[in-house]
Structures are given as C-alpha cells and as structure tokens.
C-alpha cells in the first residue's frame, strides 16, 4: 500500500459521500428544465438530508431490529461500493478486497436487507414493494454480472481496478463487445436505480411505486440514510459505467499527479452523464410492470451477446 494509494482511496470515499447528492440534484434539475419547469436548487438533496437528520425517527410498534439496522447496512454497502469502484485512480488499497463479483454481491446484500425491512412492518405496501424489488433484482443482477464479465474477459481479471487500468491504458481501439455491454449496463442501471422507465423516483402513487414503497415506513435519520444511500448508488453506478466504458482520465498507480486532473475530468463526465439520464427520463414513459422482465431480459441478452462477440471476434 502506497501513500498515494491511501490518499486516493480516502479521497474517493470522501468525494462520493460528499458529492453523490449533488449528482442527484443535478439530474433533478435537468429533468425539470427538460420539462419546461423551473428547477429546484442544485443543493436541494442536501437540504432534504439536513431536514431529515434533524427530525425524529418514527418507528412502527411492530418493527423488529431488522427494520432499524437496515438503513445502516444499506448505507454501508453503498459507501463500500463507492470505495472499490475506481473513479479517480486505479491505485486503491481496498480494491483487492472485492472484485466485480463482490460488487454485485454488495448490491444484492443491500437489496435483501431493504426488502426484509419493508416486509418486517407488515403493511401491504411494503410487501408489494419488496416483491417488485425482488422481481427487478433477480433479473438485473445476472445481467450486471454478465456485463462485468465481458469487461473481465477483455482484461483477464475480475478486479475492477485492473479492468479499468488495462482499458484506460490500452491503445485506443473500439471494442464491439464493450459497446454492446455498455447498452446492457445502461438498461441495468436504470432498473437498479429506480429510474424511468422502470420506476418513477418522483411518484407518490402508492400502487405504482417500487423503491418508494419499500421505504414508505421510514422517517427521520433512517430515511435520510436511505436517501443518501440511493444517491450513492446512482453515483456508484455512474462511476462504474464511466470507468468501464469511458475510462480516459483516470489516474493509475504510477502517476499520482494525474489525480489532480482526474477530479475535473470525473466531474465533467458525470455532468454529461446526468444530463443524459434526465433526457432518458423525460422522453420515456414508465413501462407496464410486466414489461420490466422483458426489458431486463433484453439487457441480459445484450450482455451475453457482448461475451459472445468477444469470444468470437476477440475484441
């Protein structure tokens, strides 16, 4: 472990915790602008977190300890994910601890706990949300794994840091397999982050929601942690997508000075990514729930095609 590695690792986690809500605010702002509405301020998610942390948490009488610990587990999972995803540098001391498969596992762990917590209270909406979340999850996870595997095949490693390092510093070439995997990854990200066309993050129609139904019973600091974790998840997915498919500008182990340059590059890439997400959400309507499996099956199929393309073409 080098000193620069430690710095970059710390910097990454701190940056993610501090700026993930900013990305959410940025996407919301663009969504409003694209719909010709006047937008909430960029800092609105921070105001929300501040408000929620200062409120009392109301916990249902029937809640078991699972309900109380779930927000902390979900938050910890997402913070760890942000720690192992190479956003600024590939020289990360935490990276060898968890590879691409563990990354998917972390997302799954968070999902299991939030779904258990939703069912724990015993309301019909929590159960409804948990059921739908599992429907999305069991299809999205294999697709995500396949996407990461096709990147692993190119670089012969399942460690995210190694994958990104080899991709970023390989001679510039167009990988057809990565292009297909990129589309699959976009599909999975939309589903996993509860965005349109799979879920609507802005809805309060109790019968249509997925993610909102899961967290309906949370309030105060618990809700704040979950909202923060949702921002972290969006941030992590965006960073993983950018690192895999647009890896240029990420510092590697030998060039700690490039770190300084890596921050503005990341910000610029996230800004463009956030705009594109808002655009996708504006021009699409939410699909019928029973179309979600088709949507995610398409993502899985694309990921498999990416693998095959790599095996057949070697590119």
């Amino acid at each position: 472990m080098t000193f620069s590695g430690l710095v970059s690792q710390l910097l990454e986690i701190v940056l993610a915790l501090a700026f993930a809500p900013l990305l959410t605010g940025w996407v919301n702002q663009w969504r409003a602008w694209l719909q010709n509405r006047s937008a909430p301020g960029l800092l609105q998610p921070y105001r929300l977190l501040h408000k929620l942390f200062n409120k009392d948490s109301v916990v249902a009488e029937t809640a078991s300890p699972i309900f109380r610990i779930a927000p902390y587990i979900v938050f910890a999972c997402m913070a760890l994910v942000c720690g192992i995803a190479p956003t600024l540098s590939t020289d990360l001391p935490l990276a060898p601890a968890a590879d691409a498969i563990a990354l998917v596992g972390l997302f799954a762990l968070a999902r299991v706990f939030i779904s258990l917590a939703a069912m724990d209270i015993g309301t019909s909406f929590g159960t409804l949300g948990a059921r739908r979340e599992m429907l999305v999850g069991f299809l999205a996870e294999p697709a995500l794994l396949m996407v990461l595997f096709s990147a692993s095949l190119i670089t012969q490693s399942t460690s995210l840091a190694n994958i990104v390092e080899s991709l970023a510093h390989a001679p510039f070439a167009i990988y057809p397999s990565l292009a297909v995997a990129g589309v699959a990854f976009t599909f999975v990200s939309l589903a996993e982050n509860a965005r349109i066309p799979v879920d609507n993050p802005a809805t309060h129609l109790e019968l249509t929601m997925i993610h909102e139904a899961l967290i309906l019973e949370y309030s105060g600091r618990h809700l704040a942690l979950i909202e923060w974790a949702a921002s972290l998840k969006l941030f992590a997915y965006s960073c993983i997508g950018l690192a895999l498919f647009f890896p240029w500008g990420i510092a590697n182990a030998d060039t700690p000075l490039v770190m300084i340059l890596a921050v503005p590059v990341l910000v610029a890439k996230l800004a463009v990514g956030g705009m594109l997400l808002a655009l996708i959400e504006t021009i699409n309507a939410k699909m019928r729930l029973f179309r979600v499996p088709e949507f995610l099956a398409t993502a899985f199929l694309l990921a498999v095609i990416a693998l095959l393309v790599h095996v057949l073409l070697g590119a």
Partner: protein, 514 residues
Amino acid sequence: MRFFGIDCEFARLDAPLPIFRARVDAVQWQDLARSVVEIHGQLVSLWGADHRAAGGGFEVSAAYRCADGLLWAYLALDTVQPRYPDIAHLFPAANRMQRAARDLVGFVADGSGDDRPWLRHDAWPEDYFPLRNENTGQERFDPAAADYAFVRVEGDGVHEIPVGPVHAGIIEPGHFRFSVVGEKVLRLEQRLGYKHKGIERRFVGMTVDEGARLAGRVSGDSTVAYAWAYAMAVESLSAAQVPERACWLRALLLERERIANHLGDLGALGNDAAFGMALAQFSRLREDWLRVNAKCFGHRLLMDQIRPGGVVSDPPRDARQMLREQTAVMISAVSELQSIFDEHAGLQDRLVTTGRITPDLARKLGLTGLAARASGGVADLRADFGWAPYGHIRFKPCSQQNGDVAARVNIRFAELFESLRLSDALLDELPHGPIHAPTVAPANTKGAGWVEGWRGEVLVALETDAVGAISRCHCHDPSWQNWPVLEHAVIGNIVADFPLINKSFNLSYAGQDL
C-alpha cells in the same frame, strides 16, 4: 303523456329539456323500470324525500333516461314502514343509491339483498335518518366502530391490499380494497362516503337564491354544471324565460369548465404513466386558461357565475378578443401535444387495452357521460335534446369504441377540440339583450334541471315548501353510475395500472358523498 303503455299520465316540466314527472304505484314502479331496461334506457338517479311536515308523506323517486327525455317517477310510501320494490336487479347502479336512500331517509328496498350502509360511516346510528323532517341534521352521536362487510375473495395465494382513505398523494378520500393474486387484480371493492357533509340536509329551508351558491359547491370541478342544473330546476318551477344571451353565456361557461378539466386530466394521465412532460405542459395550459377565466368572469373555476334567471355578469368588452385569441393558442398547443401522445410508443403501450369496458358491459352497467362515450356510447344531452343554445350551434358529439384508457384519453382530446370550437361559435353568435330575468319560486312545486357536465349528466331535483323555500333538493352526480363500473374496469389488470385507470375515469368523491 304516457310511456310504455303504463297507465299513468306523465306531465312535462317547464324545463328546456324534456323532463316528465308522474306518480306511480308499486306495480307501475316495477313496470316502468322493466320497460326502461327493454328499450335500453338508463337509470339516472334514485332518491327519497320526506314531505310529512307539509302534510304529505314519504316519497321515493327514480329518474330514467330514455329517447324521449327524462322520466321522473315517484312512489308514495307507507310512513310507518317505508318499503319499495328493489330495482337494483335491473339497474346495477341502483344498489348504492338505494343504500344511500336507506341511510338518509330510511326507505328500504324490498328484496335488494344488500343492507350494508353506504353513506353512513358510524357517525350516526342505524335508526337515525338525517333527511327526515323530525331531525335537524345537527344531532351529535358518539361514533360507534362497526365493521363494514367487504366481499371476501378466497383461494390459493389471494390476498388483500387495502388502500386509503388516506392516500400518499393529495387526493380525495376513498377506500379501495383490492383482492389480488401477485400483481393481478381479481376484485376491487370501493368504500366511499368519507366526504359526506350533509349538503342535501343543508338545502332544506334555504331560499332558492341561497341554494344556488350551495349547489355550485357540490363538486368544485363541476361547479358550472351544478349551478346550471340548479338554475334550470328553479326556472322550471316558475316557467321563467331565461334571456337568450344568458343561455349563450352559460354554455360558454360550461364549455370552458369542460376544457379546463380535460386539460387537467390529460396532464395527470400522462403523469400517472410517469410522463412528466405532459403534466408540465398541460398544467401550464390549464393555468393560462383559469387565469383568463378570472380576468373575464371574475373566478378561476367560474363559481357563482350562474344564478336562477340568468347569469351574474357580462364579460368585459375586451374579453371577447382575449377569449378568441386564447382558443386559437390552445388549439395549436393541444394539437401538438396530441401528436406527442399519439406517437409515443411507451405511453401508448400503457394506455391501450388497459382498464377496458366493452360497449356491451357499459350498457349493462349503466355507464354514463364521457366514459360511456369512450365505450361506444353516443348519449350526450347537448346533442340528444339540443336545448338552447346547443340546438343552434351544430354540436357534434364524439364517440370512441375501444373503452380502454387510450379511448378515454382520445375522447378527451376530441371533446377538447369540439368545446374549443363551440366556445368560439358561442362568442360569434352571442345574442344581445339582458343577462338576467327575475324569477320567483312558487310554493309547493317541483322542478328539475338536467345538464351535460364534463363528467356526465348532472341532475338537480328541487321541491319547494309552503313559503317557496327549499324543502328538498337532490343533486345527482354522474359518478354514482360510474364508480361501480370502475370496479369492473380494473378486473384482470395489474395493481400498478389502477391509478391510471382510476384517473381515466376521474370520478368525483365529493359529488357522490354529498
């Protein structure tokens, strides 16, 4: 006049639409109901009245729509045991109206088989009837918790999802009990009445002029339709002649109310499919529309503009230009949005085949108004009976065949354009003259008003007492007929599509809870 060979003489009321009234006996009551079913007529409303204070007795009334107009039959009941023959086996929509009549006046439908309360939510006891003469409606009771017997669906994997009356969004209260397998809805049962305010009781003793303000507040989104129906009822009491200019202005207000509601609904329908851009655009258009309402008529929702005898105010001189310019802007803006709706594959996928009511089912269940016209119906009072000014301005009714959410969206677009055209035509041909003629309400008379509001037909039946004050005013909202149909529209759909289906009907809670 006689109908269907039934031996009773119907007298025509002095209303601009053909409304006939007759006293029937218990046998004729049933014969009439059966005859109306045979000719594919519909039940409009059923209600009870207590006239004992004026020396009369109990009377239950039913109003049917048939090709000749509205038939209002009333049946005198025993004052000790007020019972009348059930008609819910002929008209499914009668079920809730009969239960409401039992809750409010204590009339029992013989053989209905459903004696659960409808509007009574344990706020008053079973043997207390707020619309009876001896009660003031001011009595206080301790709320008693009683269980409401929802129909249970049994089976492997069936479970219930209770929704409401308190919802996550800011909407009116209503309870929906879904029985589902996974995501699929097997049955929906509604429980309404949470907004019961005792409006019908409040009418009693008011002068007819005071009543106009109250009638305009039965359901805020239909205030013009109610105010017009009420004014028509008052005018039919005294055979008052409403000046032509007032009629034209009333129609202009009614069409503007229709347009405002359709704009709001189209945006909300887009939003329920998470198509936020539609909500933003339609909300903007609706807001512009309401602001012009405020400028030209003094109220955004056009409340208290219509009063018995005419209208309250003439729009200012420059209003005509402003209104015309706005309709032109609106036509082009809505056409653009319509093509976005039509060409958006994802949105159409949500709307088409969702919440389907076939024309056959619509007829059987007595669906009415906008929703009926989306299910192959053609009935529209404006076209069928062409009262002034609709008879003069070539109104074209709209109809759709599919009966799904998409059809209800399309019918809204079609009606929007037709109403925009109508409002221009009304302005073009606006006659000159006074806007109000004095009316007096004679004592001990009965009248009715019947108007095609944006949701469907609104009926107001009005009766005066010995000094010309209101002794009974029954306001009927088309939601009474359409709520039960919504229960059928959801069957076989997925739970997540319910908000979309519900919004496509957009029924009134306040209007039916009264």
